[in-house]
């Protein structure tokens, strides 16, 4: 067994350049596969982070149409609703448009109650709640711009005709791995008061309501009851679970996601083709040697084992390097495109897939070459030598 392994390893690295190129192909393909799968996961990060005990109510026409703030009092009356918060997408720009990040005006007290995954120290929380111009930034966002508590930040309004000055009062960390740590939120009253001064018609309106509910099983009935409250009004509502709300965003890009998923699997097929090509070339070159081994009494099973073993060594070496390089590659990817993918975490289960896919590729790539080596008559194989 040890002798056979020695022979397999020696054979695998006999043509160093070819083997290294094949391994490189496997590594590149696996890392690309890993990044694409992580992009897909990142896309769904909002869905994964959503809570089953939170509902979102928005205007039935579109999210861009606001709802009267007064709805909150009616929603509070619905049985099963424990907390009601509200907010508006501000869409402000920090210095220039390149510095994009999500920024919302929210009702501070109720919002923080609904989102315990945003972890803030008690002191900072108090400071935020007591300062009408206070803002909270996620730690990744703060690191990106070098912000710390007490810093002044100005956001230029795009949706609303106001520029707002904020004081960073708190920096939150995500409780969970998939919590977005790149958001910015501030006091809704501050936005509302500013709007009242320049565009009174747009004041006292919320972009969305968020409801905390006591029992996730009641979500359908509570949603239906909330929506029925505003039926036939000027601003009818759609209430859905936070997960459905997030999925509705993703559905807009579903075709693109499908393409990414498809490409990620095409990559596996490419590795298979590359490995199969390498093994085919190898066996073609060594058909005489396999004939010699058969002459010495090595049976079909042993010959197939040597070829499959060699294929596995090459592909699994690529797999190991692929695993080792996926984290640094993902880190580099996050550094470059973190603005678009605030949650970009490599799922450890990906490596199980790497190993399984590589083992499969290694075996499949060896099937045809092994069959060829076995089927070639010894006399014909020996004629290829010399």
């Amino acid at each position: 067994m040890i002798f056979a392994l020695k022979l397999i390893f020696k054979n695998a690295f006999r043509h160093k350049t070819r083997t290294l190129l094949t391994i490189s192909s496997v590594v590149i393909a696996l890392v690309a596969f890993g990044l694409l799968r992580t992009v897909v996961s990142a896309w769904y990060a909002g869905v994964a982070a959503s809570s089953a005990t939170r509902l979102v109510t928005r205007n039935s026409i579109s999210l861009t149409f606001p709802l009267p703030l007064a709805y909150k009092d009616k929603i509070k009356q619905v049985k099963g609703v424990t907390v009601v918060s509200w907010g508006s997408w501000f869409g402000g720009i920090y210095i220039n448009e390149k510095n994009f990040f999500a920024n919302f005006a929210v009702d501070p007290g109720s919002y923080l109650k609904l989102y315990p995954e945003y972890v803030i120290t008690p002191e900072q929380k108090t400071a935020f709640l007591n300062d009408r111009r206070g803002a909270v930034a996620g730690i990744k966002l703060a690191q990106r711009f070098g912000w710390k508590t007490g810093d002044l930040v100005t956001l230029k309004g795009t949706i609303y005709p106001v520029d707002l000055d904020f004081v960073i009062r708190a920096i939150y960390k995500g409780r969970d791995k998939n919590t977005d740590e790149s958001q910015f939120f501030f006091n809704w009253d501050y936005l509302n008061e500013s709007i009242k001064k320049v565009s009174p018609g747009r004041a006292d309106q919320a972009g969305f309501f968020i409801e905390g509910i006591s029992d996730p099983l009641l979500a359908p009935s509570i949603s239906a009851e909330i929506d029925s409250l505003f039926k036939n009004s000027l601003a009818e509502t759609i209430t859905e679970t936070e997960k459905s709300f997030q999925l509705s965003f993703i559905s807009m890009t579903e075709a693109l996601l499908m393409v990414i998923q498809l490409v990620s699997f095409v990559i596996i097929a490419i590795i298979m083709a590359v490995a199969a090509n390498t093994m085919s070339m190898t066996v073609r070159e060594r058909i005489g040697e396999y004939a010699v081994l058969k002459t010495l009494g090595f049976g079909s099973f042993r010959i197939a084992g040597l070829i499959a073993g060699e294929s596995m060594v090459i592909v699994m070496t690529g797999c190991a390097l692929g695993i080792a390089l996926t984290y640094p590659a993902a880190h580099a990817f996050r550094d470059q495109l973190g603005d678009y993918f605030p949650v970009f975490n490599v799922d450890g289960r990906l490596f199980i897939f790497y190993a399984a896919a590589s083992a499969l590729v290694g075996l499949v790539a060896a099937i045809f070459p092994a069959w060829r080596a076995i089927r070639t008559p010894i006399a014909e194989g020996l004629r290829r030598i010399g």
Binding site: A4, L7, L296, A379
Partner: protein, 226 residues
């Protein structure tokens, strides 16, 4: 020699190859016997069927018709796997181009056929060392084929051929790729294996000098043995 039992018995052996639409007869109704402990040289012009006959005796090719019995085993009726097992235990091969595995050292090449036996690693090493010593290469055990001369490589190949103590030794042009001195060394070695260890040797050769080492010389011409 005549009094000895035949170790190889060939009856009505025929073999043909297909080249495109043509059927080319290589061997035609060949019958002969080789006695145990014999040193036979098969001669003949290129394409006369010498190597084909050798391959058939060694069980690495299949005949169209006829029977071959080697050491009491009717090898023409064995399956591929049975033939492989039979070759591993009964036949030692010496090729014109040595056919050593380039990524294995001399001792590893010699050890190769022993992997198919039930010997332990230490036993395999012991056997391989013994035969390498026999061919005068005990100081080259860790050398790779590329680090050995042609004559040395052929001696490693001889060591590999005899390490399992086979019933017959088959050699296809064993001196065809060697200079005169190395060729003579290899022939002497084969002669010693025949005379001292009693090995039955069947050798295909073009070279009359090599053939003169054998006890019996048979000639094949257009597939017919004379």
């Amino acid at each position: 020699m005549e009094s000895k039992e035949p170790i190889v018995q060939i009856r009505d052996l025929s073999k043909s190859y297909r080249r495109g639409s043509q059927q080319i007869k290589v061997l035609e109704d060949i019958s002969f016997e080789i006695a145990e402990g014999e040193f036979l040289a098969l001669m003949g012009p290129s394409g006369s069927g010498k190597t084909t006959l050798l391959n058939l005796i060694a069980g690495i090719d299949k005949s169209d018709k006829g029977g071959i019995v080697v050491g009491g085993v009717q090898i023409t009726s064995l399956s591929e796997n049975e033939l492989a097992r039979w070759r591993a235990l009964n036949v030692g091969f010496i090729f014109q181009f040595y056919n050593l595995i380039p990524v294995l050292t001399a001792i590893e090449n010699v050890e190769l056929p022993l992997l198919l036996t039930g010997l332990s690693k230490s036993e395999r090493t012991e056997h391989a060392m013994a035969v390498l010593d026999l061919v005068g290469l005990s100081d080259r055990t860790e050398h790779y084929p590329g680090q050995l001369s042609g004559g040395q490589q052929q001696r490693v190949a001889i060591a590999r051929a005899i390490v399992t103590d086979p019933v017959i030794l088959v050699a296809d042009e064993p001196t065809g790729d060697l200079d005169r001195v190395s060729a003579q060394e290899v022939l002497s070695m084969m002669e010693n294996l025949n005379t001292q260890l009693g090995k039955t040797v069947i050798m295909v050769t073009h070279d009359p000098r090599a053939a003169s080492t054998a006890h019996i010389v048979r000639t094949l011409e257009k597939g017919i043995l004379t």
